[in-house]
């Protein structure tokens, strides 16, 4: 695999499940460079998860190609892909299988053939990052939903992949939990890793993720800076999505001079306060 090639390079990807009648992905073209932080949004059933499962070779294209760091996923050994791309499932219970927290986090790095001391170091680091160090010896399934989600992330982080794909990381988490996971992903992104997040949480995307890709009906409907994509209400409507509440509010106040591309609470506050300043 090559560091100089794009992290993910997808060309004319068509995919149909063996038993399926219709194509789930109908010709997807997408390029994600190293160090990018990308949100994949779209309605339930749009093909987001099916697309993401191509990123680590879990699924192979029916036609077209998926290249991970330059390697075609149909030619690359699964072990190489697993090393390059970490995948955190939507439902942590689909992923967690070890009895104890520590054993769960150690499974991935051990299978990469690392030395026991390296495995131990990585497990410690990953558990510390997600705030589960003091639970290392607990039973994995005695953890609450939010903690199980963090464990699922830690297990993948411990493999230290170059590319991290996270499917709905904040589902079922409270605000503190969701923020914790996002802080973690941001930190990893700043360190140069490529992060792709599948989510329905438009507020989270607006606040934290610079590039947004809209998947609709097996195709890429839009791809660009989050500020362009998430403020385009008519485009989002086609994908059964809508802008965050502050953006909708700002757009209703456009006749009073409020900018239509507001993405966060702080931005809308500044817009309003600035217009009230002179009084």
């Amino acid at each position: 695999m090559s560091e100089s090639a794009a992290a993910l390079d997808i060309t004319d990807l068509v995919f149909r499940y063996a038993s399926g009648v219709a194509d789930v992905l109908r010709g997807v073209n997408l390029r994600i460079d190293h160090g990018e932080f990308v949100a994949l949004i779209g309605q339930n059933g749009a093909g987001k998860t099916t697309l993401a499962k191509h990123f680590n070779g879990l699924l192979k294209p029916s036609s077209g190609s998926v290249r991970v760091m330059g390697r075609d996923t149909r030619a690359a050994p699964v072990a190489d892909l697993a090393r390059a791309v970490g995948y955190v499932y939507q439902n942590p219970d689909h992923q967690i299988f070890a009895q104890r927290v520590r054993a769960e986090a150690a499974f991935g790095p051990r299978n990469l053939g690392l030395s026991p001391s390296e495995v131990e170091q990585r497990v410690e680091r990953a558990l510390a990052l997600v705030g589960l160090r003091e639970h290392a010896d607990d039973f994995a399934f005695s953890l609450g939903r939010g903690q199980r989600q963090k464990l699922a992330v830690a297990s993948v982080l411990a493999m230290e992949p170059r590319i991290l794909v996270v499917d709905e990381p904040t589902t079922g988490l409270d605000q503190a939990g969701a923020r914790g996971i996002l802080d973690l992903l941001s930190t990893w992104n700043v360190e140069g890793r490529t992060i792709v997040v599948i989510t329905h949480d438009m507020t989270l995307v607006a606040e934290r993720i610079p590039r947004t890709v809209v998947v609709n009906d097996g195709l890429i409907l839009a791809d660009g800076p989050t500020r362009h994509v998430l403020t385009d209400a008519s485009l989002l409507r086609k994908a059964y999505l809508r802008p965050p509440q502050v953006t909708r509010v700002a757009q209703r106040l456009g006749d009073l001079g409020v900018a239509p591309d507001v993405l966060t609470v702080a931005e809308l506050y500044r817009q309003i306060a600035a217009r009230m300043g002179p009084s």
Binding site: Q90, D93, R145, G172, Q175, R179, V246, V265
Partner: protein, 293 residues
């Protein structure tokens, strides 16, 4: 005190502790819910929200239980029959879906309540349509996506036509329009059948729009409650980095309030009302500038 008929749910000093746990999941919680009320429940993970939902359905988990719970006149205790007049949608739809096909899954509940088979056959497409799964009758349930499973679980509850609907984060895996459609279904059910709704939800904007009252739970207790316009002004529970999310419109208005730019009486957590408040503020400042000029 209200007449007993108006109370759908009465909980008094409810304590519950899971086996081997070091603290109570529910720590002496008391709560009344009126018939026809829409009660929202929010609060951090581990606050006891899901445990409360289980108790309200009569599914008291194994553990230490004390206090009293009465749902639609039926007393709930460990080992008591589950409450037939209420329906519970679990947080994780996987724990609820048992049918091999969507139609089988949907039929399971009403069959067990001995509903007429012809009624069930007619009801299945109606309820699938309500959750945007029209035409899915014969689809294998294992093929459904996370969001589709969640919508099926919701239909499983709705088809029971319960008096009390208990929803534990029912929309966590739904897309924004799916959330809206689900809330529209709830709104219609309330209008047509004055159903009582208890909903655990982190989506503050929807809670603010729909709930008559929202309670905030922490450590097994109710720490604050009130109509959304009042509750979402609480600066201890909301509006700081560690806080639960409040509706974004309320966060903007709260900041304006703090800055002295909005009178306290004008605070709201509702989107439409909030837009009107902001509009009035901006129009006034335009006028005052114009007057000075």
């Amino acid at each position: 005190m209200e007449p007993a008929d108006d109370v759908a749910i009465r909980v008094r000093d409810l304590r519950f502790r899971y086996p081997g746990a070091t603290r109570d999941a529910l720590a002496g919680l008391s709560l009344d819910v009126c018939r026809g009320e829409f009660l929202g429940i929010t609060g951090p993970s581990g606050a006891g929200k899901s445990t409360l939902c289980l108790c309200l359905k009569g599914l008291v988990p194994a553990g230490e239980f004390s206090g009293s719970v009465s749902v639609a006149g039926q007393t709930v205790a460990p080992g008591s029959a589950y409450v037939e007049s209420s329906a519970l949608v679990f947080q994780n739809p996987e724990t609820q879906i048992i049918g091999l096909t969507v139609a089988e899954d949907l039929a399971f509940g009403p069959e067990n309540l001995r509903r007429d088979p012809a009624w069930i056959r007619a009801a299945i497409p109606v309820y699938l349509d309500q959750v945007r799964l029209a035409g899915y009758q014969d689809v294998d349930t294992y093929r459904l996506s996370g969001g589709q499973k969640q919508r099926l679980a919701i239909a499983d509850a709705l088809i029971l036509e319960p008096e009390i609907l208990i929803l534990d984060e029912p929309t966590s895996e739904l897309d924004p329009i799916g959330k809206d459609q689900f809330f529209e279904v709830l709104e219609r059910l309330r209008r047509e059948r004055s159903i009582t709704v208890i909903m655990v939800e982190h989506a503050a904007e929807q809670l603010a729009a729909m709930a008559d009252r929202v309670i905030v739970m922490q450590h097994g207790l109710v720490v604050d409650q009130g109509p959304p316009d009042q509750l979402y002004r609480n600066p201890v529970l909301f509006h700081h980095p560690q806080a639960e999310r409040a509706p974004q419109i309320s966060e903007v208005l709260f900041e304006l309030l703090q800055a002295g730019l909005l009178p306290a009486s004008q605070f709201t957590a509702q989107e439409e009302a909030g837009i009107q408040r902001l509009r009035a503020l901006l129009e006034n400042s335009v006028q005052s500038v114009a007057q000075r000029v």
